[in-house]
Every structure is written in C-alpha cells, then in structure tokens.
Amino acid sequence: MNNFVKSSVLSLGFFIASRSYAHSFDDFILPPEGLHAELSVSGAYRSDALIEGNQRWVVPGTLMGGEAYPSEAGFGLDELFLTPVYRKENTYVMLKIGRHLGSEDLELEHVLLGYRLNNYLALEGGKMAAIFTPYNGEHPSDTCFSSRRLVYDALWGGQFNDTGLRLKSNIGGLDSGLELWKGSRFPAKEKDTEKSAYDVYTRYSVEDENHSLSVGAYYFRADANARDDSRYSATHSHAPAAVTVDPTYFDGKVETKGLMGSLSTKFRGDWSAGFLGEITQIQQNGRLRDATHQADFENQTMGLWGELFAAVQREKFSFRAERLKVKSDVYGAAAGVLADKLKLQAMGEDPYRNTLSYEHEFDATFRARVEWAKDFTTLVKRDIYTVSGVWTETVFGIGH
C-alpha cells in the first residue's frame, strides 16, 4: 500500500508540474466585515439504523473513537448549528455552537480567533476543525448526503477538531498551512503528558467562469498516549449508559497522508457536473492495553471516497462511493483477546458504502434530499433509505 501512495503522490506532483495555467492572485478569503450569524438545522427519517439497538459502533478492523456516532432509524434531528462570526478589519472571531449527528447535547464546537497578517498570511487559533482537507470541517448538512463520510467517521472520529494554532497562506491559488494541535482529540489523545499533533497541507485551485479544479495533499502526525474509545467511556456525556465498556488504550504513533481533489464544470443551460474525492492512508503503530492485557499493534488503513454529481436548476443528483482497506497485525499473548474485545477482526471484505442522493432546493434556505445507501460497514449488509431536509438561514448580518 505504501508503494501505491507513493506512486499516487508522484502522479499528483507530475500533474501539478505539468500545468501551464496562469493563475491570478486572489485576495485571502475572509468573513464579511461586522457581525453575522448563520443558523443551520437538519433532520431526517431513516429506514434503518446503522447498527442494532445501542450497540457499540466499530467498523471491524479499525480503532474508532472521537465523535463518530451511528445514525439511528426513524425520525430525528441530525444537526443544529449556530455560527456567529465577527470581523473588524483584519481580526475575526468565529464561534460554532450546536449538536452534531449522533450526539444529544449542545456544545461549543469552535471558538476561533483569527488575524490576517497580510494579503498572503493569516494566523488562527483556538478550538477549531482542522483544514488539512476542506472536507474535514464539513457536516452532512453542508453536503448532498445526510451521513458523514465513512473515512472521517472511521479514521478521524467524525471530524478532527482540537485546540490549536494555524498559520495559513494563499499565494496565487496555492493554499498551504501548518496546524499545531494540543493533541487532545481522536486520533491523537493526550493524557498527563505533552503529547501533541500537527499537520501540513497544500492545495492548488484554479477556476474560470465555467470550471473549477482543486487538488491537494496533506500529512498529519500525532503521538497518542492512553487513547481510548471515549464514545463509550463511562464519563462521556454522549455514551448510552448500557454501552459503556472498560477502556482499552492505544499508545503509539499515528501518521496520515492524503490526497484530495475536486473538479466541476458548468455546461450550457443550467447544467453542471463534477467530481470530488479523497484518498487517505493512516498508519498506527504502537501498543494496545487494558487493565489486564497488552499487545503490540500495527495498522494500516486506506480510506477512499469519491462523489459524482450532476445538477440542473434546483435539482441535484449525486453518487458517493466509500471504501476502507484495513490491514492490522496484533502481536503478543493477548492478541486474540484484545482483537476480540476491540472488534479488530476484519470482515474479510473491505467495508464500503455506496449512496445515491437526489436533492431539491426549494429556495436559498431550504433543501430536501432522498437517499439510498448500501452499507457494509458492519457485519450486516444494509439498505438504508433516508429522507432529510436542511434549513440554513442567515439570522444576523448579511443576507438577513
């Protein structure tokens, strides 16, 4: 798999190097001056749950955690977010308060303070979502699908969202950045020590009147210390009481490399079509342990997803294919015990999910979706049908 990623990186480098497309300088994108706030609410009806009852959700073979909660059957409020943003000249503050898919509590998800140093550089800090890919910070209500991308649920705990500092630049369409993290969130986890995480990324975007193209790459590194699956720990506010399990910890190195890209084109009339996708590879080497067992652990998981869409006027058809390729080795006398406990036994087949979505935009604030997902991310293959709606309103400031 390493060779596969290396060759992919080389291909991407060749692709970028071969471009002869002149790009003009774009001003750094900043929020509008003053205060504005956006409210987003999404709800859905699902024909089936991702797992039975209050089971612990783990894609077999992966070490999951963070805030990756499974969707449930029936009607439910998926997400609720209020996002106030204030900017005065080069300084801006952004908050994000709400609840995300699978959780039941309101929480302060982001508190971000940013400062634009000049036309090329900005510094941001606080509790925020990483932007090593633009998709990490996305919620289902931002997309054409009511579920989070499998790769993010399985490898990033839904979203990598931590306290940290970000230096980002934009020069001639080339977005780059360095993010330093406290390392207190999955897949990093800090406990009593100075363990941390960081990532670097670069993306190149070009666009004209009818086309846009973006390609990028990133690298993430964390040292996990006593990382457990906090979703089901007794102290976690979201965990159903009946699902709590005695903790099993991972200590070790987490390294992730990824490539992403998007492409969209407008055709004559109101037609447009496009593709976006990402390939990521996580390598985790370290040790698993619980109160009485210990085993060495090596895991390499490749996650892929791609989305194709076609839109005309207010209608949008999308297809998303997602796949995980999991390879794990567990060493030691307790290998079987811990693999059993953590559901580390791979299913034999790659976990995957294919989703077809149709979306109708009623107006600028409300859109409805119908989806059919074929899911094989647990031991049971399921067809899940979903009807959902997303309401987004600027409640204060521009657009209000």
Partner: protein, 397 residues
C-alpha cells in the same frame, strides 16, 4: 487546456479507485510467544487464542493427559465399579449427559445439571457456584470422593478395592510410569486427580463455524448466523455481558491476565414466595458464602457447544435453546403454582442485565442459529478426547 487537466485528474482518480477495488482487508494475530512457550504439551488451541493459566503443582504433559483420559473413561474409578467420569460427561454431548440432573453411582440424583467440559482450563472458578474453587485439581476430588451427593462413591473403605481394580489393568502400569516417572507409589489419589485434571484441561474447543467465520471462512456461517451474532452482541438482548469474550463466559482466566474476575449471576430463575430465594441446596453462591445477596448467583457457563448441552441452567430446568431465549426475553421465570411458586422476574437479587426484551420469531431463529454456530463438531468427535478403552473393544469400561 482545462479539459485536458480535468481529464488527467479524473483518470488518475478512477485509476486509484480501480486499484482499491480488490477486497484485501485483513487482521492477523500473532501469538507465537505463548504458542511456542516450551511447554511439553500440545494444546489444541489456535494461535489467536491465549493459553490457559498453568498450575505449577501440576505441569501439563502428554503422558498425564493420556493417563487422565484412560481414568476418565474407566468405571473402575468408582466405589461400586459402575460409573466413570464419562457416564455424566459424554463426548458427543460436549461432555454433558443430556439429563436434567446427573445420577451418581448409587443412583442418587445430583441436585445440579452436569456441566459441559469445554475449555474448563479457561474458567476462573470451577463448578456452578463456588468462588473458592479455582483449580481443576481441587475440583476433581469432589465427584470422586464427595458424599453429598454421591457421584463416584469412593470412600476410605472402598478405596483399597478401587486401587486393586486399577492395578489389575496392565495398561496402567506403563501409563502411570510415563506420567509420574520418578515417583512411587503410583496409584495415589494425588496422581489420579492430577492426571484427570490434565485430561479435563486439555479438552479445548475453538473450531466452531463461528471461529472459522472469524478467520474468513463463511461456508457454514450465513446471514441468519450473522444476524444472530449482531443480536447476541447487541444491547437489546445483553447476552454478551455475561457470555462474552473468546470463551463466551465472563468467568474466564488465561495466562495473559494479571487480575481475574470471578463473577456470578442471578438470572431470575426462581423467587420463592417473592423473597428472592432459590430452592435448597441449589441456591448458588449463597451455599458457599451465606450472604443473602449471593442468593441464586451462578457462574455463566461457556456457550461453546451450547446446542449440544441441553437441558439448560444449573438445575436443568429449561429444556432447550428456544425456551432459554423465551426465558431471557421474559426477564426471568414466573412460577405460578407449587412449592416453588414466585415471580423470578422480580427477584430482588437478579442481575441488572436480565431485563427482558421483545423478540420476533425471526430474531429468535437467528439467535439460535448463532448459538448453534458455536458447535465445534471436531471437538465432539476428536479421537484424542475419545474413549481409549474402545480401541481394544473392552466391555468392562
């Protein structure tokens, strides 16, 4: 130009996805460190399973195993020469006897159902409910020499006669000499119990359809078993809390563990007069501790080969797996008449996980399919565990 770039990007992406389409997710377990631990005994345990704890006073050996196997199947090892261990622990029934309760050599009924001898070496405690009985060597004394109830019926008085019968069997001379080469005399209670303990601990079972499914072989593991597995490990039915882990029992110990739990559970089988009582002398851990809160608490047995070990529960009072599922779905048992009347569902000492659940006929079938997938046919027919006296067609054993 843009179209060219776009086509390159799209082609690259499609190539990446095509390359990813081959199913090759896998998990490999490497437990060589224990499998090749230098023990002079061939555990029939796959590499992905930990090995049982060792008893330093009775190291495992093939010679002891073979001696224990002969003793296990020998009716001469009883007071009146009518009963062997295998009378109540028959291989084709996962070493149970199919009876409600066992019957001893004198015809006396045992108050409890004969337990399956499956992965006994992995139990954290032995027998249905005794927190202090933690080695098979200790436990073996009870059926051989116990007086209440009488099982093998060996006493101080008839012990010399039992030894004489064993000494008369020529095969034992070599077997004892091989098992305990440097020590004399050979026909002692200590050596007999040690050899029996080694044989019983060697009865390991990890080759069920479920185990093969975990290794990627689904030939005997279909959709029903998979649905049943989800139910079993789900919070709706709660089965796995007491019957979880690789041995499907929460009372499990192996050599990778530093600390061992010895849990016991009251499942709401009885609630005599609404007082929480179970019928004596079957009152679970209470019989050993005298604590009221231990009333009706029994060890969760392994569910490996469970389909072969009916009837169920400590007193054999539940006839089959269907009735077992109904029992747990009801959250206990309500006995409306008779001297045992009382609503077990309301037993004040009942385990918190036995809360009842709604189960459809399909779910019940699926759950039972899963439980049946825990049957290890190779264990039930393994010649290594079979009656060695059959090989010479002896009618006396």
């Amino acid at each position: 130009m843009f179209i060219t770039l776009s086509m390159r990007a799209l082609s690259l992406t499609i190539l990446l996805f095509l390359a990813a389409c081959r199913n090759d997710s896998s998990t490999k377990l490497h437990q060589v460190s224990t499998a090749l631990s230098g023990e002079a005994f061939l555990w029939t345990v796959p590499l992905n399973m930990p090995l049982p704890k060792l008893n330093p006073d009775n190291p495992m050996s093939e010679a002891k195993f073979q001696l224990g196997r002969h003793l296990f199947y020998d009716k001469n090892l009883s007071g009146n020469g009518t009963l062997s261990c295998s009378s109540c622990h028959q291989q084709d029934k996962a070493f149970t006897d199919g009876r409600t309760v066992a019957i001893g050599s004198t015809g006396q009924s045992h108050p409890r159902n004969a337990q399956a001898l499956v992965n006994v070496a992995y139990y954290a405690s032995l027998t249905w409910a005794n927190t202090s009985l933690v080695s098979v060597e200790q436990q073996v004394f009870i059926p051989l020499f116990g007086e209440n109830p009488i099982e093998h019926g060996i006493t101080q008085d008839n012990w010399p006669m039992v030894v004489a019968r064993l000494e008369a069997e020529p095969r034992y001379t070599a077997l004892f000499a091989a098992a305990f080469p440097s020590e004399t005399p050979v026909f002692t209670q200590e050596y007999i119990t040690k050899a029996l303990a080694v044989f019983v601990k060697g009865l390991t079972s990890f080759n069920s359809a479920y185990d093969r499914h975990l290794s990627g072989d689904n030939t005997q593991y279909g959709a029903s078993e998979q649905r049943g597995q989800s139910l079993f490990f789900g919070e709706k039915m709660e089965c796995f809390h007491c019957h979880g882990g690789y041995n499907f029992s929460d009372s499990t110990a192996d050599r990778t563990m530093t600390f061992v739990n010895r849990p016991f559970h009251n499942t709401g089988l009885y609630n005599i007069d609404g007082s929480g009582k179970f019928p004596a002398p079957n009152r679970g851990l209470f019989e050993a501790t005298g604590k009221t809160s231990d009333m009706g608490r029994f060890r969760a047995p392994t569910l490996r080969n469970i389909a072969k070990t009916a009837p169920y529960m400590h007193d054999g009072s539940v006839k089959d797996l269907s009735a077992v599922v109904d029992f747990y779905a009801a959250g206990g048992r309500n006995i409306e008449t008779g001297e045992l009347h009382g609503d077990g569902r309301k037993n004040p000492f009942k385990d918190g996980f036995v809360t009842g659940f709604v189960v459809s006929e399909q779910e019940k079938k699926d759950l039972i399919s899963f439980l049946e997938s825990l049957t290890d046919e190779s264990f039930l027919t393994n010649p290594r565990f079979s009656n060695p006296w059959d090989l010479r067609g002896s009618s006396s054993r």
